[in-house]
Amino acid sequence: MEANTAPLLHIQDLSKRITLHILDGAIVEPFSGVSFDVAEGEFVAIVGASGSGKSSVIKTLHRTYLATAGNAAYRTAGGALIDLASAPDRTIIELRRTEIRLVSQFLKVEPRVPAIDIVARSLVRNGATVESAREAAAGLLGRLDVPQKLWASYPALFSGGEQQRINIARALVARPRLLLADEPTSALDSRNTARTIETLLAARSHGMTMIGVFHDLDLIEQIADRVVVMNNGRIEAVGRVGEVSIPRVQPTQEVAARV
């Protein structure tokens, strides 16, 4: 089984620089020289203080950000190697539909679509009937403990924690091979966090790989195989949980820094 020894994702010297033309060409460098591998089925947590570049790495792997240098070789289900940093837009669209999903920190969805259809739509786009897609969506929303009375409402009206679970359900329903997650549980209470972890671990047992930004140390210990520690746009350490020291960051500080 040679295929299983090759990493699912091989990230090498990935860098991101932003030139802000509207601020007289000021240059911001969210991260640079980022290299690490992710094995199939592995859960990797990216940790670090706010502004360390964690979210930008996730966005670059999703191609919401364009990389300035480096590459990220992703091995598809069919065995092809695709550089997520430089593949044509069409290839990325196809991968996002079939293999790679993003859970952003905040739910960004089409307005005026009921929660259940936001989740079901991922499957409908892949050819499922509306009925079977809604059934799968309902199952997942139930597992994540989203109250059934909300399913037909618009998520724009939901609480942060409810929106976050819609976001997770939307990504997981299509059974992605690779989940990119940016603080997917930051707005959840402990009970809902536990439900979410269960759901993520169940997805892993079906072969899903995850790269996620997390803050909560307990959570990281429960869920992550390895940790990538970032500081000031650089990787400081990569190792198994317990082997590397993880800086403690309060999620509230993180949000405050962005506001």
Binding site: I18, I22, T64, Y65, L66, D89, R90, I93, R112
Partner: protein, 279 residues
């Protein structure tokens, strides 16, 4: 994965006026003008290239005068470009540029293969012909001959675009702006064109009506897998509908990419200004 584009455009250039050798060098975003200083000609768009794939929605965004509507008008042959080629896979199997079409072929392209929705319903509808008649007119042009079938199809598309069937035999002149726009959409889509062109389709409408029209287009696009080019100055329209987006300024394409990437990580100074102005 289907990887043959349904539409492939190369070198599309449209100049108003005689034009001269300096026109293309002396205009564009770098000069911040689209009027040629040497001869006074206006360069509406220059060297525009794009590929549209089946079932895909391509957005073109830019301010007034950026050339985005000129691109659509050239594609629908309301305007004749000065140069360029556009291959539609359903026209001569994509081997003949639509801009080399004969008069008869032009009618076929406009009536059958392409559907256009204009900003102003007046441009796409005959307001003094009934809603059903407007759609029937287009179906007749596409060689539908059976009156019963034409009426049934018109009723079906008015239903899909949420125009009450009892208004089918009324004149659109007496409809609200939003309903006129929905009739125009029904007319453009009724004969299942290979390529749908949407030009600022919500610009003249109230905000709440805009939402309804956009949802309608989005739902029909998802359901029927339409191949669409949508032109808008409104980033929320682009965000809602487009898979990929091109940004135009002063007649040139300054940037293109996945819609979320263009909106979250804009590369060109103009796109950065556009995105930060909308936020």
């Amino acid at each position: 994965m289907v990887d043959e584009p349904i539409l492939s455009v190369r070198g599309l250039t449209k100049i108003w006026g005689r034009g001269c050798d300096a026109c293309l060098d002396q205009t564009g975003p770098a000069h911040n003008r689209n009027t040629c200083p040497a001869c006074g000609a206006i360069v509406a768009c220059a060297d525009v290239a794009l590929d549209l794939y089946p079932g895909e929605v391509l957005g073109i965004v830019g301010e007034s005068g950026s050339g985005k509507s000129s691109v659509l008008q050239c594609l629908y042959m309301d305007l004749a470009p000065n140069s360029g080629e556009a291959f539609l896979s359903t026209f001569h199997s994509g081997r003949k540029s639509i801009w080399e079409a004969t008069m008869r072929e032009r009618r076929e392209l406009r009536a059958i293969l392409m559907g256009m929705v204009y900003q102003n319903p007046r441009d796409g509808l005959n307001l003094m012909v009934t809603a059903g008649g407007n759609i029937g007119e287009r179906l007749l042009a596409a060689d539908w001959r059976h009156v019963g079938q034409i009426r049934a199809r018109a009723a079906d598309y008015l239903h899909r675009t949420e125009v009450p069937i009892e208004r089918m035999d009324h004149l659109p002149a007496y409809f609200s702006g939003g309903m006129q726009q929905r009739v125009q959409i029904a007319k453009a889509l009724a004969n299942s064109p290979s390529l749908v062109l949407l030009d600022e389709l919500t610009t003249g409408l109230d905000i709440s009506v805009q939402a309804g029209v956009l949802d309608l287009v989005r739902d029909i696009q998802h359901r029927e897998g339409l191949s669409v080019i949508v032109v808008s100055h409104d980033l929320s329209v682009i965000r809602l509908l487009a898979d990929r987006t091109m940004v135009m300024k002063m007649g040139r394409v300054v940037e293109s990419g996945l819609t979320d990437q263009v909106l979250e990580d804009p590369q060109h100074a103009y796109t950065q200004l556009l995105v930060s102005s909308a936020a």
